[in-house]
Symmetry: none
Subunit: 197 residues, 4 copies
DNA sequence: GATGAATGAGTGTTCATTCAT
DNA sequence: CATGAATGAACACTCATTCAT
């Protein structure tokens, strides 16, 4: 019983099944058959919507990236305070949002990163993502710091965010969001304190 | 040409071939056949020395970890200055040593991390490694800071090291060791400056 | 040429190819590749229909067992005489039917028996089969003999049938059905003659 | 430390290890490596004493056959009564001796039989064995029965012995020696009773 | 649009055998 | 005599992909 307009629904369905599969068995064992089973569809449908497996993987990575972007964007729009500090806080919070520090998301990000080392298409996506974080941070620091210092601060804070995230992901225990944010805020404030009055 | 006492030689040979393979094609495509070919031996020899592929992977991970440990240990022994700052510097330098920030090593570490999310044996190794860095840092900070602050500083610096390393690895460009060390030293000094005189 | 509803056809096809392979080279050398080649299909199809090789082996054993059951059932239905002797004769005849004493079937049964000593799933099937023969015989003897004697006679006749079958199979020569049946009938009649008038 | 006269010791050692291996994991999984480990020797030694694996298998089969022969011979020599009935009893007892109805022996015999269907060298051994039982039985029956009847009785008793043995082996439970012997004796006596006085 | 039958190359692994020591 | 290092072919099995229906 074919229906019209199934495309977006099926695509979403399959992307979510991919995340579920990676969470359950890891990317190496997330076969098309498993993903299709989790999505409740047949094997063959995947090539129909995403040319091949790589297409599905790339689409899933884009989906995760957009979730992060949307998350930060929403928080920023809800912001009344326009200070650099408030904006930086929003970025930090967005990166430690529950949508990013749960099991499936962390496992999938890690798997993507590892895969991106050998897949140009994933690598491109990954670089865009990395650059966005740095760029957003740098932009805010620049409002109160000279360029060189702003860049330095942005590099440091970006690394701190990713490092805390990474160590949290690898630990296997629950992610301690409060602690991570506290460490980031402290770094942020130390950098902002350098501003010439 | 079978000879006796080949075990350590062959094991080393195969571990290096594994690193080479992961560097060239990624862990997902680093097949036993490829590794054996790179090592110039037959497929079957791998199960002779490392029960199965997982055994080889785990041995390779242990090899990389030991390289890091030895690296830091050597630097520490060459140290004349016994100050906490000097020790912390050594740890930072060791983690950004050329043996850790080259292509093959970074790709392999990333692949290990991703795999460790679903392989208990690798996960155990990974946790030990993570904990060592934190523990070493904490130990030095503790010499000048109260425990709570020392822990906080260690967590931050560990995350900063890993984050800089990660972002460097993912960037695909050469690793800017000087910049990474500068950012770490700055964080380190800001934390050490908290000490009550 | 993929078609829908191929399952029963392919399963039958593969089971027959398995019998053929065991006949030709023995169970130890009846590889998936050989069976697939004999069936004229690809290797992979086997796991599609029977999870793995064990699944195919078990299905083949069930197929042979059902052939024996159907054989006896058909003969019994064609029976006008309802006497115990007639029923016993039918069981004996069924067990020495051409479908059971030809080369492929005998080789396969022997291989199954040997394998059943170390494969619980096959062992279960085998026990069911063994028990059915005994049970059927016992049931008929019971109609004219006291229970203890009936059981004894059933055990003896079952062993005689299996033993004649086994020695015939192992001899490698053609099976002498008439001789086997004569020996069984004689034993049967000696046992039935014990009935109290 | 090479020693002289090790040959018979090593051969015996390896044959026993083979029986042990077949008992533990079945003939299909009784690899040279396992047998060598069970015997406490190196892999390579096997080809030294038995050309190849088939040689070891055949030697093991011969060993088992000789054990059966010796068993019957010993019992016969201890016999005071020279009647056909006594001799037949000895043959029956020998075939149900503890050395033949224990797990390892039964598993190995079954495996040999199955293998003999496709290995001419094993098949030859097997035929000799089968014929000896028939021949021995026939010889005794002939002392009191006409040839045709003697042959018939021998065929029946041989089949009964093998059938009881087989069903006992396949059942997986302990072998009920008494019951098996009782059934054989009864058959034996019924046949002997046919003699013309 | 959707299915699932079918493929076949590729995987990790096992194993009998050989042979330098 | 005996070892065990080394081979390489064979194995069962997996899986992304294709395509007739």
């Amino acid at each position: 019983m074919p229906k019209v307009g199934m495309q977006p629904i099926r695509r979403q369905q399959l992307i979510e099944a991919t995340l579920q599969a990676v969470d359950q068995v890891g990317m190496a064992d997330a076969s098309i058959a498993l993903i299709a089973r989790l999505a409740g569809v047949s094997n063959g449908i995947i090539s129909h919507y995403f040319k091949d497996k790589n297409g599905l993987i790339a689409a899933t990575m884009r989906y995760l990236m957009n979730a992060l972007i949307d998350n930060v964007t929403e928080r920023r729009q809800a912001l009344s305070d326009d200070s650099p500090r408030a904006h930086l806080q929003v970025i930090v919070e967005g990166n430690f949002d529950a949508s990013q520090v749960n099991g499936p998301a962390m496992k999938t990000w890690l798997a993507f990163w590892a895969a991106s080392m050998h897949q140009p298409s994933l690598h491109r996506l990954q670089r865009i993502n990395d650059h966005r974080l740095y760029s957003n941070l740098c932009c805010q620091f620049r409002r109160v710091l000279p360029q060189a210092q702003a860049r330095n601060a942005a590099r440091g804070l970006a690394a701190l965010i990713d490092g805390l995230w990474l160590r949290g992901a690898l630990s296997g225990d629950g992610f301690d969001t409060d602690q991570a944010q506290r460490i980031c805020y402290e770094y942020m404030d130390l950098q902002l304190a350098k501003q010439v009055s």
